[in-house]
Symmetry: C2
Subunit: 766 residues, 2 copies
């Protein structure tokens, strides 16, 4: 039951090397917890920030990729003669090009393809690439490449993929690995004890990551040294992959990602486009830029898999859960990452008898990739709707029902304590802040416009840890520089990191220079994903700042002839606590000037052993449903979040609102639509694929921070936020819609058509 990929167990992980700071949480804060605009807000809004998409180098060529139009086909031959002769074309590469025979692996390490595979397993798979003087020349040349395909039968439906005789996406059948089965207790006995049982099948559709900045890279060689500007969530894994692919030392690869325009999991891996750009850059001895067209971002960079989840759940009449039987089928697409959804069912509520099975299948439709809380929003969609139905059956308020059944330790064998887990507070304080009772009393279940309330809870099963290395430098004038490895994927990483330095060193945030995400000049961090950037990297930032402070106070103590422990930093001065007459401007500390600067290095301490750390949340919403048009109007939405200590309340709130927007997408507006005749995506654009925007969450949404530092977990007391913010959203909406309509729509998204169909069938029943 203790699967490291599923939840995060604290325990033996890299030791802390040489942390010379005994950094710990602050007794009181002046900067941390306040609302701070981004440190790079000016650059971002003025357009002076250079995103990878903005990189333009002298002599740079532009690349384009030819993609297979068929859902399943063999490449029989490729004729590039015409393309190669076209104006401006400098390179055309296919699987026949020497050096392109690169094994390409899925996350997890199985090599299942090559850079250009002889078999294309989804409509959008890479067949050839071109580098030309201009983007249009490259696009034209791609169209001039003649490919002969043997079109193969395909399967795009997850259930059909398991049927006997279904087309095989890969040799060896369409099942991805073995089903994951987790069991505890006695399921039959559990259902035997139940006074009420709910059983239902739920469905979520395939959702696309859709970051604002498309996927892409610029590659430049200097001899055998490769520099890549990449729109990535983590520069170090890209460095490692490129070193492997080109059989070069990592010291020959520099990956830069100072800015990047959003990533929700699909930018955790190295793109084939990156390697293609680098290959063509080497062939042409010119920099090559490949940024994917928006359509390709929809079809070929990954997605949240569609899931079909059947849950049977029982409780005694007093509301005690007795049994959960959960089954999930996920459609991984042509190259699997995994589509398991059962973790919430397994761990969120105390339930002695459980069976949970996750099955994943290959289909000829894109590829599953980790997307903001992989599996969890789908699992919440099923579990949290079932919990509401069951609460109704036993006649208990759904919030009370959840509180009654909350798991307060990890139901592993043996059970393990949480370091800090404020889900009860999320539910209780959230309900109070939202006005749950009042809203429930406003329920309207008749007429054209119905109104209802819904809630859902969650945890997120990962909290990060080592390694992370950070360097902080104090300049001679008392301003500072912070260098961390983490990418800022739009979440304000640079800002909270600067705030920690400001808090610890008493340097105003606007006097701190932040450098990040550069394998050559930067420190080390794991990729920004899994809601772990704050809890993994913030303790290293604090330790680095504390290392500077320790040195500074030590030098000042010698000058002032006091003990270092007697000193503190206050408004740019080092001041004796015991004798206010003894003070010194930071800039008057002689050793600062004599050294040029004071530098401190910080490492992430190991996580504590024998415990587990989960951020958690409850979200509440009130909706109106127009039964004439099928439209859902979200009146109010509140997220109550326990992510440990809040570093920046402004980015905290915005992260919650962003997560809710994505959850609204999953629950109400977003859906990849495939043409069943061709297997091609028909809505691969922002007009037909509806991503919610800031306007959808602007005024109606609120955030309640359960700001309890998780001091048992790490020195900053922080846990993650990015993924819990999106996990319960769709389920909360579904519960509110069901509350309003008196009928439950089990398949996401809750489009007007789905609502109207449900209301129509309800009418017929009546």
């Amino acid at each position: 039951m203790t699967d490291r990929h599923d939840y995060h167990v604290n325990g033996p992980l890299p030791e802390t090397p040489d942390n010379d700071a005994t950094a710990g949480a602050w007794p009181k804060t002046t900067v941390i917890g306040s609302r701070r605009s981004r440190v790079d807000a000016y650059e971002r809004v003025s357009g002076t920030a250079v995103y990878p998409h903005d990189v333009s180098l002298p002599g740079m060529l532009h690349g384009a990729i030819l993609r297979c139009p068929h859902a399943h086909a063999k490449v029989l031959s490729i004729d590039t003669t015409a393309a190669e002769k076209m104006a401006g074309v400098h390179a055309v590469i296919t699987r026949a090009t020497p050096g392109t025979d690169i094994p390409w692996y899925e996350r997890g390490g199985t090599f299942s393809s090559t850079l250009f595979d002889a078999t294309c397993r989804y409509a959008g798979e890479e067949v050839a690439a071109v580098a030309a003087e201009t983007p249009l020349q490259a696009a034209d040349a791609v169209r001039a490449i003649e490919v002969t395909y043997e079109v193969l039968p395909f399967v795009i439906d997850d259930a059909e993929a398991l049927a006997p005789g279904a087309p095989a996406v890969h040799d060896g059948g369409n099942m991805v690995g073995e089903p994951r089965l987790r069991e505890r207790g006695d399921l039959a006995a559990g259902f035997g004890e139940a006074d009420a049982v709910v059983e239902r099948t739920y469905r979520t559709e395939c959702q696309i990551h859709a970051p604002m900045e498309p996927h892409g890279s610029v590659a430049r060689w200097d001899g055998n040294r490769l520099t890549v500007w990449d729109s990535t969530q983590g520069v170090f894994p890209v460095q490692e992959t490129l070193a492997r692919v080109f059989a070069l030392p990592m010291s020959n690869i520099r990956v830069i990602g100072h800015y990047m325009g959003g990533g929700f999991g699909a930018k955790l891996e190295t793109g084939k486009y990156t390697v293609m750009a680098a290959i063509m850059a080497r062939m042409t001895a010119r920099p090559v830029k490949i940024f994917l067209p928006r359509e390709d971002c929809f079809t070929a960079t990954g997605n949240r898999p569609a899931n079909t989840m059947t849950i049977k759940i029982g409780a005694r009449s007093d509301g005690t859960l007795t049994a959960i039987d959960y089954h999930s089928l996920g459609a991984a697409g042509a190259y699997a990452y995994g589509a398991d959804t059962s973790s919430l069912a397994v761990y969120l509520y105390r339930c002695p008898n459980l069976r949970a099975e996750d099955v994943t299948v290959y289909t000829n439709a894109g590829k599953a990739r980790p997307m903001r809380a992989p599996g969890f929003p789908q699992g919440a969609w099923a579990l949290e709707q079932a919990m509401n139905e069951l609460a109704a059956k036993v006649g208990i308020d759904p919030i009370a029902f959840r509180l009654q059944n909350l798991a307060t330790e990890l139901q592993s064998d043996p059970p393990m304590p949480y370091t800090s887990y404020q889900l009860a507070a999320c539910l209780e304080n959230g309900a109070a802040a939202f006005g749950w009772q009042e809203a429930a009393e406003r329920r309207v279940t008749e007429g054209d416009i119905r109104r209802g309330v819904g809630a859902a809870a969650c945890f997120w099963g990962y909290a990060g840890g080592p390694p992370s290395t950070v360097v902080v430098k104090l300049f001679a004038d008392g301003s500072a520089n912070l260098n961390l490895g983490a990418s800022d994927i739009g979440t304000g990483t640079k800002t909270w990191a600067a705030m920690i330095v400001a808090e610890e060193l008493g340097v105003p945030v606007d006097r701190i220079q932040v450098e990040n995400a550069d394998t050559a000049t930067g420190q080390y961090a794991t990729p920004s994903g899994g809601s772990k950037t704050v809890p993994s990297d913030s303790p290293a930032v604090l330790a680095a700042a504390a290392a500077v402070k320790r040195q500074l106070l030590g030098f000042a103590a010698e000058q002032l002839e006091v003990e270092p422990g007697d000193l503190e930093i206050r408004d740019g001065e080092v001041v004796s606590r015991s004798d206010g007459e003894k003070h010194l401007a930071v800039t008057a500390v002689e050793m600062l000037g004599r050294r040029g600067l004071i530098m401190g290095t910080g490492y992430r301490d190991p996580n504590p052993e024998g415990s587990v750390t989960f951020p958690c949340a409850a979200q509440f919403c009130e909706v109106e449903v127009d039964t004439r048009t099928g439209e859902i109007r979200i009146l109010r939405f509140l997220g109550a979040h326990d992510s440990g200590r809040v570093l920046n309340r402004l980015t905290f709130d915005n992260q919650v609102f962003g997560g809710m927007a994505m959850g609204i997408g999953l629950g109400v507006t977003e859906e990849r639509v495939l043409d069943r005749r061709t297997g091609r995506m028909v809505n691969a654009n922002f007009h037909d694929y509806k991503v919610p925007t800031i306007l959808d969450v602007a005024d109606s949404h609120a955030c309640l921070a359960i700001d309890v530092p998780d001091e048992a977990f790490n020195s900053t007391g922080t846990k993650g936020l990015g993924e819990p913010a999106t996990i319960p959203t769709a389920a909360a909406i579904a519960n509110a819609v069901a509350d309003a309509l008196g009928i439950r729509v089990t398949a996401a998204p809750l489009t007007p058509r789905a609502i109207l169909e449900a209301v129509g069938s309800q009418g017929k029943e009546a």
Copy 2:
């Protein structure tokens, strides 16, 4: 007598912070001391290296500077109306522009001017600047600015500047500060003891730095954050100056100088062009690039001042020096750095009775700036010629005469020991390697083509020290990254630094990535100048690499279950010394993978107290002089150099040859020629101003390294080389020419005309 600006006394300097390495010199080396091509050779020769001159940013404007054509003038009015209306012009700034009233100071801290001064004190001083779409538009607009000057009387000659009634360059007379007087013993008594006395006046002319890359910068603002790409010898002082000028924290200023095309002292300071580019970039909200035309580099970026030196020197008939009376007059130009030349006379030879006076005067001619061994080549020109004359008078071979009188400790009060000082070996081994006796016997003093030999010795009075901070990172694949603050001014800094890491960690040099000279992402170093980069920064590099090694061996020791002290790194493996069966690939050290990388920080240890460290050298040459044309042909040249341990023998040799080329320039070919009627330089171009090239030193020159590590000085046993390489060159040539001609030409450069005049006068005497 202990003037810190004159020689470098080891002693209390910044303590070593937290060096966790007990780094020391290597018992034997495999990489250090070998001949290694530059780690960035490919980038430099292929043109892919981006020098500041190559930087081109989107929307970048080009700047040009209007300079005063008069040697001395008051700016009465400036009319920019026409210029502002010209096509492509975006900004015109003059002293009337708000924000340009910036105090401008000389090295040493005296504010003596402003960015645009109302009085122009030399032909070439800045009056206005323009930023336009293209360089030609900017140049055209500069010409369209109308300035009304009140032309003032000027003085360009150093002797005339001190005469009563001379035009005053600055208020308060033309003497720069007080003359520097250094005395010991009893001069009159000393000359009383002398059996032979030589007295003569020597002259060196003004020499121009002439780096291949002109001076210049690109400035870009993001809000109130300024990034500058600068062709500088040190990014940190530029950062500090710009922070002061714009009243911003240093954290708002980023200065980058990864590559730069040569610097010999004039690029130690922040240029006015840098500030002008930044001002106009802020005004226009666009990046601005200003690179000076070659002519301006000659006239307005500094020079080695012209000096007139009178030396009277006496010895007993047994060759013992008894007295030195030395007087130097230097022409500092309009903005003084100092033109003292007496240090060699004071310290090179043991002499109990001494008087040395340095006088510096302002003139209306450019500005003196530190140039490769400020004052020393001039001082050698005088002292080392006088020593030869005196040796001849007492009938002792000039090498033997020097050896007999060498000072073996610093003649301060009290005297101070040298850490290591191999000047005797330079003279003895150098003479042997050169074949001094044989060459002397080949002397030809009759006929059209004469032949002679000459030698000269020197020390250089600075050896560096703290602060320096370096970071080394070991990547997961065993390749490495090195980050140091120092600029590589063409001397191979990146290469020797990588070699130290290679030696210490057993990582091949071509698996080491080097990043340097960036105030935002880099570590701290003082500017590259004063021959101190190697001795200041190499111990920090070693300490950083050793810190990585210590951690790596510690982790490996745990895995192998041995003591860390039993382990060494050999060919990518960690191997037990006592048990060869116990070994482990570096990449198999688990903690390396678990941490992502291993990082080590190194600091420069303080210098030892109570001693002094000088690199030193002797150079030997054999020349032919054509008495019909006045041409000097250098047949052979040998430099014998004690710079402590040799890190890279290839760059060592090339540094010596480069120094010799510059010395040949001072002695034979280079001379700033001013028009006495206008004060303007008439040979401000590479056609009329003759800089020796590699072809002048290619085949005839050799280098003997006295490779004795100075282990008492620092952990790498290194001293500097850049400056000693050029100090004795001109004097050695002059001695060889005098040896050939039998007559001494005391004024540099030894042009054909000067030689012919001397030979002619010799004929008349005969």
